[in-house]
């Protein structure tokens, strides 16, 4: 099973453009990243710039509206993620508990597999893995 551990750092919603964690915080996080890697469970990871450098495209009634960050109404924003491969949700949670978080939320979410869907959804999503792979599939070659 694959899980995403979503890092939601407190205060990141108001962080200034270019805000970076301290070297100590990065060092602690690197130790954690390495423990995931050495345990053979880490598949991928990334960090995100703060929302003050981002842009939201909001849809209301089907119309797109573009707003540059920061977003005053946002309470919890993503700071990054880890993708891990583990045996159970409980194991994913155990790994999340080991994160050297100071003031943050780590949300654990399972990655959807095609086999999770009912048949009609599977059919509608038939080209999904083609999109993931970026390779020409049956429909869009």
């Amino acid at each position: 099973m694959r899980f995403m551990m979503l890092m939601i750092p407190k205060g990141y919603e108001t962080a200034k453009p270019g805000a970076m964690p301290t070297a100590e915080a990065v060092a602690a996080m690197m130790k954690y990243n390495e423990s995931l890697h050495k345990a053979g469970v880490l598949l991928a990871l990334d960090g995100l710039h703060p929302p003050s450098m981002g842009t939201r495209v909001t849809f209301a009634g089907g119309k797109a509206k573009v707003t540059d960050g920061p977003f005053a109404e946002a309470k919890e924003v993503l700071g990054g993620y880890w993708m891990i491969q583990v045996k159970s949700k409980e194991e994913a949670v155990e790994w999340a508990k080991r994160c050297p978080g100071d003031d943050c939320i780590v949300e654990v979410r399972q990655v959807q597999e095609m086999s999770d869907f009912p048949d009609d959804v599977k059919k509608a999503a038939a080209g999904f893995s083609e999109l993931q792979s970026g390779k020409p599939g049956r429909g869009n070659a």
């Binding site: 890697h37 050495k38 345990a39 053979g40 469970v41 598949l43 991928a44 993708m83 491969q85 583990v86 045996k87 159970s88 409980e90 194991e91 949670v93 155990e94 790994w95 095609m114 080209g127 893995s129 083609e130 993931q132 792979s133 970026g134 390779k135 020409p136 599939g137 049956r138």
Partner: protein
């Protein structure tokens, strides 16, 4: 959340390091596992009430060490063996909490030592596989039995005997040095790849693919790659497993039937695993050594992984890689695979010529892929009647129900074509 399931998860994460650390102290894998199990039982008794401790790994280690001291005290009282009293003293010192963090530095080494112990040549291959999954994969006896479709008692007995053999042979808990290292490492790699292959193309049972076993093997391989990062073949094996695992989704059809590589929907290949596989292969290249058997097989798998369509495959490069592999580890099975690549690069007749020279090979006499491949070449050459016989022979030889159906289907198709 369910505490029992949480404890199970903690066990999966902590037990390899726990058992490895304990083995270093007590110098006996069997005793170390017993102590770890004692700690697990204590956790199962206490955690549902007290909650899971903040550092469950340290809790388990401290509990196991206390049990170790009790145990040695008891036996020291009985036997008054000086060396055991000495060990007791050594253990007492280790219970000092600061030692837990000091132990951390050694953990990679301990895990590596445990891998070498579990894959020691005094053990049969079957015993190595069972012990590795149990002690390093954190799998229960039931899980191992289910994965290999054998009775639980068989696996339990296999593990008990293996631990006894290691103890009686006084197998040292160490990382081998010098020339020994290469030989012993290849045994570890072999065990991991056996586990992977049992998951990737199960030799028995009704399911062709047991993805959990592949994931266990990959996890072990990734752990090993960080323990001995200077060994090119470890990265070669990881690359090979990552790339092969990337095809899991595409290898099985809707009703569980196997789909051959050339017929797979490549868009279903897992690009994340392919990227990881190619990255592992790059690590082999960066180490600058010539490619070993695993790296060569990974490079062959990478030829497929990089090709957008079967026609895009660099078949001639693949033939060259097979040539190198056949030189390094000559085997009729590699020759057979090489014939497949040759057929793709230079036509089915060239492949058939090679396969025909293998027909009299005694070691392939009962190998279903020989008639299966030969049947494939013959059918491509329009020789359907001969192809049909080959597919039927192959179907008789395979033990896997799914694969058998596929071969019989091809035989039927050839029967139709040979009449028309």
């Amino acid at each position: 959340m369910d505490t029992h399931r949480t404890i199970e998860a903690v066990w999966r994460i902590e037990s390899p390091r726990l058992i490895a650390g304990l083995t270093r102290m007590v110098r006996d894998v069997g005793v170390a596992e017993d102590l770890a199990q004692d700690a697990l039982v204590a956790a199962l008794e206490q955690w549902p009430q007290s909650g899971v401790p903040d550092n469950p790994g340290a809790w388990l280690m401290a509990t196991a060490k206390r049990r170790a001291i009790d145990r040695f005290r008891r036996s020291a009282r009985l036997e008054r063996k000086l060396d055991e009293v000495g060990r007791e003293l050594a253990l007492k010192e280790m219970v000092v909490p600061d030692m837990v963090s000091a132990l951390d530095d050694d953990l990679g080494d301990d895990l590596l030592r445990l891998m070498f112990t579990c894959c020691h040549p005094v053990l049969s291959t079957e015993a190595r596989v069972a012990l590795t999954l149990r002690l390093l994969g954190g799998l229960s006896t039931v899980e191992i039995a289910r994965a290999f479709v054998v009775p639980e008692a068989t696996i339990a007995q296999r593990i008990v005997r293996a631990k006894r053999t290691l103890s009686e042979a006084h197998v040292p808990f160490e990382v081998p040095r010098g020339d020994d290292l290469a030989i012993r490492l290849s045994s570890v790699l072999e065990v991991i790849y056996l586990i992977f292959n049992e998951g990737y193309s199960a030799t028995s049972g009704d399911d062709w693919l047991r993805p959990e076993l592949c994931e266990d093997a990959l996890r072990l391989g990734r752990i090993l790659a960080e323990c001995v990062s200077q060994e090119p073949e470890v990265h070669g094996l990881v690359a090979l497993m990552e790339i092969q695992a990337s095809r899991s989704r595409a290898r099985v059809g809707p009703s569980g039937e196997p789909i051959l590589l050339m017929n797979q929907n490549r868009a279903q290949w897992d690009q994340l695993l392919i990227r990881r596989g190619l990255a592992a292969l790059e690590r082999v290249e960066r180490l600058g050594a010539s490619f070993g058997p695993y790296a060569l097989q990974a490079a062959i798998a990478a030829c497929h992984a990089r090709a957008l369509t079967p026609e895009d495959t660099e078949w001639q490069r693949m033939v060259a890689l097979y040539d190198a592999l056949a030189q390094l580890t000559p085997s009729p099975i590699i020759e057979l695979n090489r014939a497949v690549a040759v057929a793709m690069a230079f036509g089915p007749q060239a492949g058939l010529d090679l396969v025909d020279s293998l027909v009299s090979e005694p070691s392939l006499k009962n190998y279903h892929l020989l008639p299966s491949v030969r049947g494939d070449f013959l059918s491509k050459l329009g020789r359907y009647a001969e192809a049909r016989t080959e597919f039927e022979t192959a179907a008789e030889l395979t033990r896997n129900a799914r694969e058998q159906n596929l071969l019989l289907e091809r035989a039927r198709l050839c029967a139709v074509l040979s009449v028309g």
